[in-house]
Symmetry: C2
Subunit: 223 residues, 2 copies
């Protein structure tokens, strides 16, 4: 049984995985720049030089922290998208749920810290990180944009792009700045700590926004 549970990672507590876990939690707590390799290796119970042995540099560690979670995350998104019925009446809600749920669930389950980290990732000023993130998300964006385009034929491509951007913004703000909601609501709204409630509110709000009448006609290239 012990051999069964250690499915892929964590042979015992592998230095490499410990470093990724420690970096993930510290990045989400203090930011990337403010998390020194000495803090990370100390929390991981590893030697300072271990980072450069396993990842080459701090930059390499940052990339590894993100790509470890991002690949499964976007794969699940696309899997859920494939399972959507685009001809159903609630097609928009289904697609939104497929986009939102994996990240929101991640905030609760095994990768608690990664949700917060991901919510702030796109605001990181590092050019290298941005480039990596945009490549990692490019197919997800393409596929979801195509689904929305079929569901909302009254929208031109540009208008669709704007609305998709707002969807991503509301999601990022929800998982990245949940402390705001908690403070301003006096603790009444759970924030990202209750992903089911967050998901429900997000889908209701964003589906209405996506379905709003077009500002411009469905043919966009003109102006």
């Amino acid at each position: 049984m012990a051999a069964e549970t250690e499915t892929q990672t964590e042979h015992v507590a592998g230095t490499r995985e410990s470093l990724l876990d420690a970096a993930e939690s510290l990045f989400s707590e203090h930011g990337i720049q403010a998390s020194s390799l000495r803090m990370i290796t100390q929390r991981a119970g590893a030697n300072l030089a271990a980072v450069h042995y396993h990842f080459g540099s701090k930059e390499g560690l940052v990339r590894a922290v993100f790509s470890r979670r991002l690949k499964p995350l976007n794969e699940e998104r696309l899997r859920l998208l494939d399972a959507c019925d685009l001809d159903a009446e609630d097609g928009v809600e289904q697609v939104l749920r497929a986009f939102l749920e994996p990240l929101l669930r991640m905030s609760r389950e095994r990768a608690r810290d990664f949700g917060r980290l991901m919510g702030r990732a796109f605001t990181e000023p590092s050019e290298e990180l941005r480039t990596m993130l945009m490549e990692e998300f490019s197919e997800t964006v393409r596929r979801f944009m195509a689904a929305f385009a079929r569901l909302l034929p009254h929208l031109g491509e540009r208008e669709l792009m704007w609305r998709y951007h707002f969807v991503a913004g509301a999601m990022a703000h929800t998982v990245g700045c949940s402390y705001l909601l908690e403070k301003y609501s006096g603790g009444a709204c759970g924030g990202a700590s209750n992903p089911d409630e967050a998901l429900g509110h997000l889908v209701t709000f964003l589906a209405a926004g996506m379905r709003a009448p077009a500002r411009t006609g469905p043919v966009s290239p003109g102006e």
Copy 2:
């Protein structure tokens, strides 16, 4: 005429204001942590020690950078809110515009860099900065929440809080991560560089979201 144009600030180029300007642009470009005092003072044409003379510490400079813009920004928001007709058919749109326009305009006019900086400010991990920002915004949140509560009596307080949070998230993402929109749209969407287009799309999308049917009844305290 020369004496007329230097209305309030910038007697000539005052060291203090130069430092604020340099810090603002560098913070928005590289983030707060990554902007060293040596970079800031060099861009401002000032001596390294000038920061501590005028602001006491880097933390003091950060506070000053934000409060210089935030007070006028939120005052304008409340002024525009007071001018809204809450009984009009487009009351929701009016209130949204009052909330969104000042920051979006700021991204274009005199404080070009501050928009981007503000869009990322709430994701900053510094506890002191967060506390300062939340205090600076507390009245704005209270007043706009009250306006939305009158406009949308079908929503309970908690549901209203969630939706307000999504509004803030879409706005923050728009001004803070406009590079995403520009890249993914292949340059077709101007991002925050065209505040009028951004404002129009935001208002259309968010108004529809705010007006969406309630998930729970208007009486919230029950569950």
